[in-house]
């Protein structure tokens, strides 16, 4: 047992390179290792999703998928890197909703979002929850909205920086309830959550990845989930639609892309492999722990991702332009 783990640790990387040399049984693509670019730092929620599916897809493809973190500038550096890469199927990108919002948030992108990529499929859509410091007065979501409208001069809403999930949800909330209040940006979710726990700010809307444990621990108060259905982990938490604000429905969807010009044969192969990975029990369980679920097989397709990206670009263009916030 010990020896097995020990070997596992020390030879973990050696296994990667063995997979390289031991290739040859697969006909045609893929013939060597594939690099999956994640445009965010290692260890973040997007990186976690990428590593989960990359590992399972590697098994199916018979070639290792290596995750490379190319963080910076709200994910646009990594996306730009892939847009310029060879369209041979050996460089792919896993990006989230930021792919769609960056098209408007950044006025000078180095790539044309709708024309620089081929599509593989949707991976997962992480829901968000509106949470507040635990001694915040309102008891339910309608009460919360009324309170925010009434005290628009004094309430404060935290977000993790421009373009972050919590920022997008915040913009959506402001436009949904047609009220302007003070938003407080932080450098990342961690510091924002710390100030929420310390009662320095009033509320925040963030992914279940970041909020579910705090809600379960009773350190923050949860008002509503932004998903179309109630969350499996919090069946008592109403959805925003139930509370009468369906415009606030939003999820942090993740998709896999390839550079423009990648052959259909390759994207279909990757898509099939993605669907298999998403059906894997381990992946389903790991995602459930994060308060999310894999996208259904019908969505893990090139067509579904393309449609999603295009509709989301249009949706966020209105929201972002109304808010008048840009990242460059």
């Amino acid at each position: 047992m010990v020896i097995r783990h020990l070997l596992g640790a020390v030879s973990a990387a050696a296994v990667l390179s063995c997979a390289l040399t031991g290739a040859g049984f697969a006909q045609g693509y893929p013939e060597r290792q594939i690099t999956m670019v994640v445009p965010f730092a290692a260890g973040g929620p997007t990186d976690t999703v990428a590593r989960l599916v990359a590992e399972k897809m590697s098994g199916d493809l018979g070639q290792q998928i290596i995750v490379e973190n190319v963080g910076g500038a709200g994910g646009t550096l990594g996306a730009g890197r892939v847009a310029e890469a060879d369209a041979d199927g050996y460089t792919i990108l896993l990006h989230h909703i930021g792919m769609a919002t960056a098209a408007t948030l950044y006025r000078s992108l180095p790539y044309d979002t709708t024309n620089a990529f081929e599509y593989v499929g949707l991976v997962t859509e992480v829901p968000m929850v509106m949470v507040a410091r635990k001694d915040f007065e309102p008891v339910d979501f309608p009460g919360f909205i009324a309170y925010v409208k009434e005290n628009a001069d004094t309430v404060t809403m935290a977000n993790a920086g421009i373009g972050a999930a919590s920022h997008l949800c915040g913009m959506l909330f402001q436009s949904a309830i047609e009220t302007q209040f003070v938003t407080v940006p932080y450098k990342g979710t961690g510091p924002a959550m710390t100030d929420l726990l310390g009662g320095q700010v009033d509320f925040m809307c963030d992914q279940t990845t970041n909020t579910s444990q705090q809600i379960a621990g009773g350190t923050v108060k949860a008002y509503a989930a932004t998903s179309p259905e109630r969350l499996a982990i919090f069946p008592d938490l109403p959805t925003v639609a139930e509370a009468g604000v369906p415009q606030m429905e939003v999820g942090i969807w993740h998709g896999i892309y390839a550079p423009k010009g990648t052959s259909e044969e390759v994207t279909t192969r990757l898509s099939a492999s993605l669907q298999k990975a998403l059906a894997d029990e381990g992946v389903v369980k790991a995602m459930a722990d994060l308060g999310t679920a894999p996208s259904p097989a019908a969505d893990a397709t090139p067509a579904a991702l393309k449609a999603k990206l295009e509709s989301e670009i249009a949706r966020w263009k209105t929201v972002i332009e109304a808010a008048g916030v840009y990242a460059d």
Binding site: A12, A13, A14, L16, S17, T35, I66, V67, E68, D86
Partner: protein
């Protein structure tokens, strides 16, 4: 040496500080300043550039009434500057195109040429060993996502 003298290096130091302050101030011009209580992105940099300029001016002025004996600036490592500084730049320019192995080999070789004690054949051997070690450790053992040989190469 009791009468005040001019300390040339101090004067240059002060002038460079003012130059740097000027650069930052110029770059701040496009930024929204805001007010003390509602600061824009330019507020803090504007104040800091101002302070830096003042400090530079003080250093500059003090240079002309220096009581300390002026310290010689010493030799300048021209050969070092010529080979050491381009080494990381070269690595950055080629690591994606040539790939990790050749880029690192050439980087180590360039850096090695900075010393006049280094003979070419020793430099080649050193660069080879460094590359071998790094490729084994970083690429094979740790599995870092570097391409060993890049698309610029024919194979």
């Amino acid at each position: 040496m009791t009468s005040p003298t001019t300390d040339r290096s101090e004067a240059i130091a002060g002038a460079l500080l003012m130059l740097a302050a000027g650069f930052f101030a110029w770059q701040t011009m496009d930024l929204r300043i805001g007010t003390a209580l509602r600061m824009g992105p330019g507020y803090f940099p504007a104040i800091l550039s101002g302070i830096l300029f003042l400090l530079g001016l003080l250093v500059f002025l003090k240079a002309f009434r220096s009581t300390a004996t002026s310290e010689a600036m010493g030799a300048i490592a021209w050969r070092g500057l010529l080979f050491i500084l381009p080494a990381p730049v070269f690595f950055g320019l080629t690591v994606r195109g040539l790939g990790f192995v050749p880029a690192l080999f050439l980087t180590a070789l360039i850096a090695a040429m900075a010393s006049m004690r280094m003979k070419l054949h020793w430099a080649l051997l050193l660069a080879f060993l460094v590359t071998l070690f790094s490729t084994l450790v970083f690429s094979y053992a740790l599995g870092l996502p570097f391409r060993r040989f890049g698309p610029w190469l024919p194979f």
